[in-house]
């Protein structure tokens, strides 16, 4: 199959098409799932609004400024979750032996796993995230320059790549520790929660670890600073905020390395 030009692509397209048909076969169920999925992100955003009902500023940021951070985080996480989030089900694939079958096929293991289970119901969530992002940017009184316009597009894209990398990297852990279960959640969903608020909210070593050690500060906080034209209250120079999307490239490279290492050292659970 690999000999034929475009053969691989056709195979992937067939996988995706089959998924789309099977997932939308039961219309009512699919609609329920679409609504249910958007609900979770709606409540995340509502939570921020409720918090601002009690306080006027959060970590030195107003509601409008915080919403830029929230929108960026919501869109990036929801889209990454749609595209690669299902990789967190890999413990089940390992346990049931499905991963063995996938590895035997003449296609890449990662794209197969993603396409085999692409959760189309999460489209609603990604679209809602996009709406929040656009609204937040429009309402934030941004002093538009060409550079900021580019950043307004690049930052969400980089965020998607970053969260996608986190999903893949944490899923790799299950190659070695099948029962790791919820552990990945603390970095994926935890990362989403962390990036929903200005980094100034957090303190001590916890901030150092999540913001700079794991790089979550560069997903939403620093791009938002650059867009809003604010200096970092924590004292990092301005160029850091502009260079923030570049961190996604590093993250993607690390995740790819981790995945390859995992696949190479994978041992089947046996029959």
């Amino acid at each position: 199959m690999a000999d034929r030009p475009g053969g691989t692509l056709t195979a992937y397209r067939a996988l995706l098409g089959a998924q789309a048909r099977s997932q939308t076969a039961y219309r009512a169920s699919f609609v329920v799932d679409l609504v249910g999925n958007v609900g979770a992100t709606v409540f995340d955003v509502l939570t921020v609004l409720v918090l601002f009902g009690v306080t006027r500023e959060l970590g030195g940021f107003t509601l409008r400024e915080t919403m830029v951070i929230v929108g960026l985080s919501a869109f990036a996480f929801a889209t990454a979750d749609l595209l690669v989030g299902n990789i967190e089900r890999i413990p089940r694939y390992v346990r049931t032996g499905l991963l063995d079958a996938v590895l035997l096929r003449p296609l890449g293991a990662l794209p197969q796993l993603l396409l085999m289970d692409l959760p189309l119901r999460k489209v609603s969530r990604a679209l809602f995230g996009l709406a929040v992002w656009v609204t937040a940017v429009a309402a934030a009184d941004i002093d538009w320059t060409p550079a900021r316009a580019v950043l307004a597009v690049a930052a969400p894209a980089a965020g998607v790549v970053f969260f996608g990398s986190v999903f893949v990297a944490t899923a790799t852990v299950s190659f070695f520790w099948i029962e790791s279960g919820e552990l990945a959640n603390s970095l994926t969903y935890g990362g989403r929660d962390f990036t929903s608020y200005p980094v100034t909210v957090y303190g001590g070593w916890f901030r150092a670890l999540f913001a700079y050690g794991l790089g979550f500060a560069f997903v939403s906080y620093h791009p938002a600073l650059a867009l809003l034209g604010r200096a970092d209250p924590l004292g990092l120079p301005q160029w850091v905020s502009w260079a923030a999307p570049g961190v996604a490239v590093v993250a993607a490279a690390l995740a790819a390395g981790a995945w390859r290492f995992g696949i190479r050292h994978y041992r089947s659970t046996g029959s």
Binding site: G39, T47, S186, G190, Y202
Partner: protein, 283 residues
């Protein structure tokens, strides 16, 4: 062809001691069953702890320079978050579809043939699970928190028994809610719809995302009375941090107990209706 009635005749002898012994035995087996997943418990503890840090810092930032928000001071907010993270798995709002799965596959017949009412049997198992979670999942976050934050400790003695009672009521109430959601499988086969509604509602309206008192009073007060959600987490946590005087604490726990009793009764009612129409396919 005659039809077989799946329900077993109820106990004719109302032997309370025997009932308690059965309940205890099933609860103990529930405790053992959940205690086998040690690695998963460890992973869960780490996750709860991370979320404890996240939520705690955010709420402390809300309290900000003023030092208080919606009537909670900084230490009360800290206790609210960390004990809340621990209680989350004791009360277990999410991730229980065992009954729905058994209804869909027909395995539920096995439950109906036993001489113990299914609501009682499942409640006993869930009590055992909650007991295990109270030791393994509630304690660690509560022990980690004081290393990094200042916690609020109850100052009045009635708070302690009230908190314990409130947690027990919350466990029973949460079970009853989940049982009701699961029984929709008798009619719907696919419980995703009710499950989605329950997951969303119980997360936001129970006080997990933010203390409900952050909402205006005219929103949260009716919520507390006409929905069971605040009784799941908000009540035990408010009781523990002594947000209100003892009289109000007692009232809140009473509301909780009413909801738990009401929904348990509803479980039995729904179960009886369901058994009348249950058709199990296959031989």
């Amino acid at each position: 062809m005659g039809s077989v009635n799946a329900t077993v005749a109820p106990f004719t002898t109302s032997n309370v001691i025997l009932w308690f012994r059965t309940f205890w035995a099933i609860a103990a087996s529930g405790f053992r069953r959940y205690s086998t997943y040690r690695q998963a418990a460890l992973a869960g503890i780490v996750t709860n702890t991370v979320f404890g840090f996240l939520r705690c810092y955010v709420l402390l930032a809300v309290a900000g320079a003023a030092g208080s928000a919606a009537g909670y001071d900084r230490r009360q907010l800290t206790t609210f978050v960390w004990v809340g993270q621990g209680l989350l798995t004791v009360v277990q709002l999410w991730g229980w579809t065992e009954l729905a799965d058994r209804i869909r596959t027909g395995d539920v017949v096995g439950d109906l043939l036993r001489p113990v009412h299914p609501v009682t049997a499942y409640l006993a198992t869930d009590t055992g699970r909650a007991g295990y979670a109270a030791v393994v999942r509630l304690l660690p976050p509560v022990l980690v928190a004081p290393l990094f934050f200042e916690l609020y400790l109850p100052a009045r003695w009635p708070t302690v028994p009230l908190f314990v009672g409130s947690v027990v009521a919350a466990v029973v109430l949460s079970f009853a809610c989940r049982y009701l959601v699961n029984t929709t499988a008798y009619w719907l086969a696919d419980v995703r719809g009710p499950l989605v509604l329950w997951t969303l509602g119980s997360g936001v309206l129970s006080g997990l995302y933010f203390p409900l008192r952050f909402l205006p009073e005219w929103v949260y007060q009716p919520l507390w009375i006409v929905t069971p959600f605040p009784s799941l987490l908000q009540t035990p946590l408010d009781v523990l941090v002594e947000r209100d005087p003892t009289r109000v604490q007692v009232t809140l726990v009473a509301v909780q107990i009413c909801w738990a009793a009401l929904l348990l009764a509803a479980c039995r009612l729904v179960q009886r209706r369901a058994e009348r129409r249950l058709v199990v396919q296959g031989g």
